[in-house]
Amino acid sequence: MQFGVFSVSDVTEDPTTGKTVSEAERIKSMVAIALKAEEVGLDVFATGEHHNPPFVASSPTTMLGFIAAQTSKLILSTSTTLITTNDPVKIAEDFAMLQHLADGRVDLMMGRGNTGPVYPWFGQDIRNGIALAVENYALLRRLWREDVVDWEGKFRTPLQGFTATPRPLDGVPPFVWHGSIRSPEIAEQAAYYGDGFFHNNIFWPVTHTKQMIDLYRRRFEHYGHGAADQAIVGLGGQVFMRKNSQDAVREFRPYFDNAPVYGHGPSLEDFTRETPLTVGSPQEVIERTLSFREHFGDYQRQLFLIDHAGLPLKTVLEQLDILGEEVIPVLRKEFAALKPAHVPDAPTHESLKTAAARARDLETL
C-alpha cells in the first residue's frame, strides 16, 4: 500500500488572517510539502495541473523534476495530467524525461479537466472531453511503446515516422492511473488497458465512488488482466487532524467554510457525513481510512489532500508530521494484515521492469 499527498495548488486567502501568499511562496510551499512527505515516510507526492488562476501548477514536470533532485525515495505523480488539452506527444516526452531524471520514481494520472474555458485556450472543446481522452491516450501509449510511430486521428496533426525522445527509461513506460469522478467511460478505459483507476473520493458520497470502482474492477476482469480484486485502485481523501477532535473542527472550520469549490455551501458536519472528509483526531482518520477498504475492497494507493483553502504551510507541515508519526504507520500495518496474498501492490518502475524482462524471457523460450 502506498500513501501520499496530492495538491491542487490553489492560491487562496487564509480566511483567519486575510493574508494571501504569493505565487512564489505557494510554489515553494508545494516543494516543501513534497520534501516533508518523503521525510515523514510517505511514498507519493502528486501535483495537479491547472492553467488558470488561482492555481499555480501549470508545469507539473518542472516542479516534479525539481523535487526529484532533492528526494531519493518519493514517487512523483500527478493529479491529474490533462490528457484532453495537452498534446500527447509532449506528455510522452515530458514524463519520459522525468523518468530518466528521477531514476524511474514517476507515474502519472490522466484526467480530463472540468474547467470549460481552458479547452478553447488549447484549441479544444469540453464537449469532446471523452473522445479526446480516448484518442490522445491511445496515441500516448503508442509513443511510449513503439520507437517509430505513424499515426492519424481526429484531434491532432498526423505523425509520420515520429520517435518521441527520450525513450522511456529501461524501455518501461511510466505506470498510468486514470482519474474520474463520475464518467463510466474512463473507468472502462482504465479497465481496458489494465491501467490503474483513481477516484478522488473527496466531493462525492461513497455510494457514487463505489459505483465507479465496482465498474472498473468488473471490467478489468472482463478484459483479462486478472480478477476484479486484483485491479489497481487508488483513492483520494481529505483530512485535518489535531490531538483533540474538537480542536481540529474549530481550527479547520473557517478554511472549510471559505474553501474553493464547496465553501459557502454545506456545513462542515454535512460534508463530513456525506463525503470522506475527516476532521478530527488521528484515530478518527485511521478508522475512516480503514473503512474505505470495506467499501471499495483492498486498494493500492491512498492520497490525502491537506494543503488547500489557504491553510498556512506551517499547519500543513504539522499535518504531515501527524500523518507520518501517528496515522500512516498504523494504516500500513492494518492494511497489510488485511490484504490477501493474491492482491498485488501498485506497480512501480522496478516491478514493471521485472515484469517486462520476464515477458521477454518467455518470448525467447
Binding site: 471523452i130 473522445a131 480516448v134 491511445a138 469522478i181 463510466p184 467511460e185 473507468a187 472502462e188 478505459q189 479497465a191 481496458y192 466531493f203 462525492w204 458520497p205 457514487h208 459505483q211 465507479m212 465496482d214 465498474l215 471490467r219 478484459y223 469549490v261 464547496y262 465553501g263 459557502h264 455551501g265 454545506p266 454535512d270 460534508f271 456525506e274
Partner: protein, 200 residues
C-alpha cells in the same frame, strides 16, 4: 395493472401555499381520472422548499445530499409529473428552476408533465407557455396541451372556472399514460465497450 406513480413538484414558499393547493387539486384530479379508468395510482409530493439548502449545496459541490437524491430519483422514476411554480418576476421561481437544474437533464425525456403555475393576478397566466413550457421542451418531457394557472381570484369568486381547467388537464395527462415508462439504461451496469469508444 401496475400502480401508476405520479410525482408532484411544487415550489410554493408559504404553508399553506397556493401552489401546494393547486398541486393537490391537480393530483387529486389525476388520481380520480385514473381510478375512473380502473387504474390505481400513488402520489409522491416534493415540496421544493424542503430542499432549498440541499439544492444550493448541490450546485456548489456537484452532488446531491441523500435526501435530495431520493427526491430526484422519485421524479426520474415516476410515470408522470405534475409541476407547480409560483410566478416570480415574470417567470417560474428561482427555487423551482434549481430543482430542474440539478436533475439529470435526461431524466424527464418522454415523461408526461402537467404544467401548473400560480400568481397574484391573471395577467401572469402566460408564464405557463412562455416560461414553463420551453423549460420542459428543453428537457424533452411531454407537457400536455392544457396547463393550469391559478390567480388569487381562482381561490374565491372564480373557483368555478378553475375546476374545469384542472379536469381538462388531468384528463389529458392520464390519456398519455397508456404505455409503460421505459427503463433507462444504467451506464455503470452496462458501460459502452471500450472498442466502441475507440472506434467512434
Amino acid at each position: 395493472m401496475t400502480e401508476r406513480v405520479i410525482a408532484v413538484v411544487t415550489a410554493g414558499l408559504t404553508t399553506p401555499s397556493s401552489s401546494r393547493l393547486l398541486a393537490d387539486q391537480l393530483a387529486t384530479a389525476v388520481h380520480d381520472e385514473l381510478a375512473a379508468r380502473g387504474q390505481t395510482s400513488r402520489t409522491e409530493v416534493i415540496e421544493v422548499r424542503d430542499y432549498a439548502h440541499d439544492l444550493t449545496n448541490n450546485l456548489l459541490t456537484g452532488f446531491p445530499s441523500a435526501a435530495l437524491e431520493k427526491a430526484l430519483t422519485t421524479v426520474a422514476n415516476a410515470d408522470a409529473l405534475i409541476v407547480v411554480s409560483p410566478t416570480f418576476s415574470a417567470s417560474y421561481s428561482g427555487l423551482f428552476k434549481m430543482f430542474f437544474d440539478v436533475l439529470d437533464d435526461k431524466a424527464l425525456a418522454g415523461k408526461p408533465v402537467l404544467l401548473g403555475a400560480t400568481g397574484g393576478t391573471e395577467r401572469h397566466s402566460l408564464v405557463l407557455d412562455f416560461a414553463l413550457r420551453p423549460l420542459f421542451a428543453y428537457l424533452k418531457a411531454m407537457p400536455v396541451p392544457t396547463g393550469v394557472y391559478a390567480a388569487s381570484t381562482d381561490w374565491g369568486p372564480n373557483a368555478a372556472t378553475l375546476r374545469p381547467r384542472i379536469t381538462q388537464a388531468a384528463t389529458e395527462l392520464v390519456a398519455t399514460l397508456h404505455h409503460d415508462t421505459p427503463v433507462k439504461p444504467d451506464p455503470y451496469a452496462n458501460p459502452t465497450p471500450f472498442e466502441d469508444l475507440l472506434n467512434s
